[in-house]
């Protein structure tokens, strides 16, 4: 191999290597967001764009076959993602149920009567303004207050577990009353059925 060819070969290898490395270092973005739909043609200013003739729709090759009946198997994660149980919200540094909170729990009680095998965990949560330590107790009281009212509505206590997460697992980020209000809650999780 001549000296020049050798140099070219080395260059080629280097280019390949750099290309590979840069590929490895910069993986393609995962599932890019779809671009916004283009504005309708008639809204565009200026001359109308040239329209391409639409290709004819392809003819169906075979008629579609009816699929098997879908059997929905929802695990607990899925069930909780679509949970019919609604959270109860609280005022600042309060574990008292207000009118709307009681109505939410009454609705939740109806759902639980319709699903008598469900066991739920009532999670007490707090906003970020208090201290982490005190909020563990405040969250506990919120969970206990919700549980107590569900028991008063006739639900069996052994279906109603509680836990306090204090301010450890906020639902809304942000440092304003909008976020704080969302985070002061008793959150109902279906933990068994």
């Amino acid at each position: 191999m001549s000296r020049r060819n050798f140099v070219r070969a080395v260059q080629a290898v280097l280019v390949c290597t750099v290309a590979t490395v840069s590929c490895v270092r910069n993986p393609p973005p995962v599932a890019p967001e779809p671009p916004p739909p283009p504005p309708a043609a008639e809204e565009r200013p200026g001359p109308a764009p040239r329209l391409e003739p639409e290709p004819p729709p392809p003819a169906p090759v075979v008629p579609p076959i009816e699929a098997d009946v879908d059997i929905v198997s929802r695990d607990l994660e899925q069930l909780n993602r679509e949970s019919p149980l609604r959270p109860v919200f609280f005022g600042y540094d309060s574990s008292d149920l207000d009118g709307p909170g009681r109505r939410v729990l009454e609705d939740n009680a109806a759902v639980l009567r319709d699903n008598p095998t469900w066991i739920i965990t009532i999670e007490g949560h707090c906003d970020e303004r208090g201290t982490a330590e005190y909020n563990l107790a405040l969250g506990e009281r919120r969970a206990l207050a919700a549980r107590q009212y569900l028991v008063e509505l006739g639900l069996q206590g052994d279906r109603l577990r509680t836990v306090s997460y204090g301010k450890e697992f906020p639902f809304a980020a942000g440092q304003d009353e909008g976020a704080w209000a969302k985070n002061r809650r008793a959150h109902l999780v279906i933990s068994d059925r």
Binding site: A137, E140, R141, F169
Partner: protein, 464 residues
Amino acid sequence: MIRYRLAFRRLPVLCVTFCAGVLVLMQARAPSALQSPPGQRSEVDLIIGDRIGAQPTFAVPDCLTIDGDESVAEAGRTIAEVLWDDLEFEREFRMMARDVYDTIPRARSLTDLPLDRWRELGVDGVVSCEVAAAGDGQLRVTARLFNTRSRESAFGVEYTGSARNVRAYAHQLSDEIHRRQRGLRGVARTKISFVSDRDSESVLGLVENRQTKEVYFADYDGANIRRVTVSRSLNTTPSWAPSARAIAYTSWRRGFQDVFVSHIYEGRLESPAGGSANIHNWLPAWSPDGRQLAFTSNRDGNPELYIMDADGTNVRRLTNHPSIDTTPTWSPQGHQIAFTSDRTGAPQIYVIGVDGTGLRRITFESYCDRPTWSPAPYNEIAYSSRTGPGHDIKVIDIPTSEVRQLTFGLGTNESPSYSPNGRHVAFMSTRGSGNKQIWIIGRDGRGLRRLTSVGNNEMPSWSP
């Protein structure tokens, strides 16, 4: 001014007799007494500095190394750097910055160093140290503390041990210097436990987007971070046992908050409070003798304080009030417990006897939590107090009820924990980056330093 203190280890009676009066007489005899072989304590402690308490200036040049490879030389540098930081921490000595040491010729041996050059630089005491490989992964570290004016060695020590953690030699030497020179119990060998999301994983559970927090501990200076819990769940509020061999904390590893005790050097885990789906226990605090744990529990339908023996037996209720009672801390003698209660409408600090008598409120502010009783000889309680959007660390002196503030309004400052000699407070602050980090400040409000930087770190607990 040079002062001598007799410390005849084998002759305590003589020591008591001589200590008061013969300081000057001993001056002439001191050097011979100091020429004891390495590894034995010299019989006379020489105190460098003024007797009226002005800070003497110390220097810690790199340790000399003997027949070592590069790792031994590295150990020599590390020991000197860490020792400098350790001595700086307690602020008993004025530490001469290490970057001016280049102007001083290197020592020819452990005992042959250019003391006049150090003296000209304004240094009163020089730590002379020597590191040698002792075979089998062992190091031998020999150190002397020299007075640059009298040219005498205040004391000499020799340590032998594993080369695995060379910082430990510096920490032990620092504690030795503080003890001998200032009568101070140093904290260079203590640890700080904390909660961190640095290895954050998803919590095992039914709700998405929840990240774990685990319990860790580090040396008091933030080095050597080790993980305590591996639970794929939330773990908070660590509390060191007085034995320094166990950490109690709150863990949600069984789906609800319960008190766990990790015996960290034995790999043993206990849950003495016996929690269940509807009985929750959290925020454990060891009694000073390590025999009992105070904690918060909902077992009677409301957050109240309880005390149990460390094995979980003999549970007794301490508070009884329809509002929240939580976050206990023991007085140094173990006779009283300070805690947080919102019985007047907002969280405030209260003190109660361990027998349930003598309840009294001690803070009158907008929102106070996480009281931490200082070790003796101080009798004060550090706590976090709302001062604006966030909280600041304050300290209340128990005898006088005087309050002083240690932090001033940067981010939020919470969860104070005293060093075992009471001279520093570790706490969580969001100052700077907005992330939660562990910081340390002197109990006089001076000497702020940051301990952690990776992820969020909070709820420090300083080991004994």
